[in-house]
């Protein structure tokens, strides 16, 4: 009898209350060891970390966990969503991450987020530094300016899935393997109406931390920054500016990668991530 050749990741649904609202959250994980909590980009979901969950060298030392934010992927929006304009806020995002950590009983996890996730790790560092072993910001900047009218992402005369996929396609490096590139774009095409736009409310307005960077303490919790050279949403220059303002932050600019390193080219991204995780593991 043949055994099915499943991948290592296992997903389950977690009922979770955040700020008085009840959610049904989809949580996926693979491996064992130091918890590595992964936060997806705006308008996408935890599938972006599939390459990491399938990497045996990584999962032999780290418990890789990714959850879909409410409204994203297989996580439900809250009851009554049909009357709500979804807008992600710093507070809701921080509280959601901390609620997941508490619900899973994670002890001093490493938390790695990309884009909006790369921003929220800065908020986590400000509010909850002692709760983390280390924080990793992928495509992380203190602020982002919109460069197109965000209303295009959610209006009835433009297909939301088509436009979200097409908007972000250029954020992927030209050298990304086509299958990983188009998988990354597909996740965006599957987002719910207005969800990507609602995440960008946090990215372009509510999540601005420029005024608070001096309070960031990398002695309590180390901060690593990894940014792809083809990213023009959070450019290497944006990350350099961020790193220059945080004492002890360690920035690496990644060649031949864009805004979705873990998803657009997992193999290449892992060559940059492994030394960071090794350093975190070595220093405890």
């Amino acid at each position: 009898m043949a055994f099915p050749q499943f991948e290592a990741a296992v997903g389950r649904y977690l009922p979770l209350e955040v700020d008085g609202r009840r959610y049904r959250l989809y949580v996926e994980e693979a491996g064992s060891g130091i918890p590595l909590l992964c936060l997806h980009t705006a308008g996408s979901d935890g599938r972006q970390f599939r390459g990491l969950m399938n990497d045996k060298a990584l999962t032999s030392q780290f418990r890789v966990i990714a959850f879909d934010l409410p409204w994203h992927g297989k996580s439900s929006p809250p009851s009554g969503w049909q009357e709500i304009e979804y807008r992600l806020t710093s507070r809701a995002y921080v509280d959601t991450v901390m609620a997941v950590i508490d619900a899973l009983g994670l002890e001093r996890p490493v938390c790695m987020g990309c884009s909006i996730g790369g921003r929220i790790v800065l908020h986590l560092a400000l509010a909850h530094a002692r709760r983390f072993r280390a924080l990793i910001g992928l495509e992380s900047a203190a602020h982002a300016e919109p460069y197109y009218d965000l209303d295009w992402l959610h209006r009835p005369d433009v297909h939301g899935g088509e436009v979200c996929g097409a908007i972000i396609s250029g954020l992927i490096a030209p050298t990304a393997p086509p299958s990983e590139r188009w998988e990354t774009i597909w996740h965006y095409m599957q987002g719910g109406p207005g969800v990507f736009k609602g995440d960008l409310h946090f990215y372009t307005q509510d999540g601005d931390v420029r005024g608070r960077l001096s309070a960031l303490d990398t002695k309590t919790c180390p901060l690593y920054l990894l940014t792809g050279e083809y990213d023009y949403s959070c450019s290497p220059a944006d990350s350099r500016e961020l790193a220059a303002r945080i004492k002890g932050a360690k920035l690496t600019v990644m060649e031949h990668l864009g805004h979705f390193p873990m998803s657009e080219d997992p193999a290449r991204f892992l060559t940059y991530l492994r030394p960071v995780l090794e350093e975190i593991r070595a220093t405890g």
Binding site: W152, E162, G170
Partner: protein, 128 residues
Amino acid sequence: MPQAITALLPDLANADGALVRRGRFLEVTFLLELGDSAYLIKIHRGRIEAIEPGPHVEPRYTFALRASAAAWARFWQAVPPPGAHDLMAMLKSGELRLQGDLQPFMANLRYFKELLALPRAAGAQQGR
């Protein structure tokens, strides 16, 4: 040369069955400006019906994409450098200016990104 690339564009586009299929609801005329040169590109059911080089007398178009000839030359490199690799990247840097009624452009954004990137592969084949 940009002129050569715009001359290639109709054959490249109309031979691309998947591109034409994705653009099958598209009826639009847009202006492509490369520095001092301008081209009116007419699209009918996803196919390029005509490219009219300027100078134009009273051109009518729905929207315009304007960038310098040098910016388009970078965009059309086989593997373009960061910042020149995508229309939205050029928009962010200010190298590309989008003007007019952008609804057909945004509703068919993948189509226009892929249409305008077609000369990359052609250029690579010709050793440019």
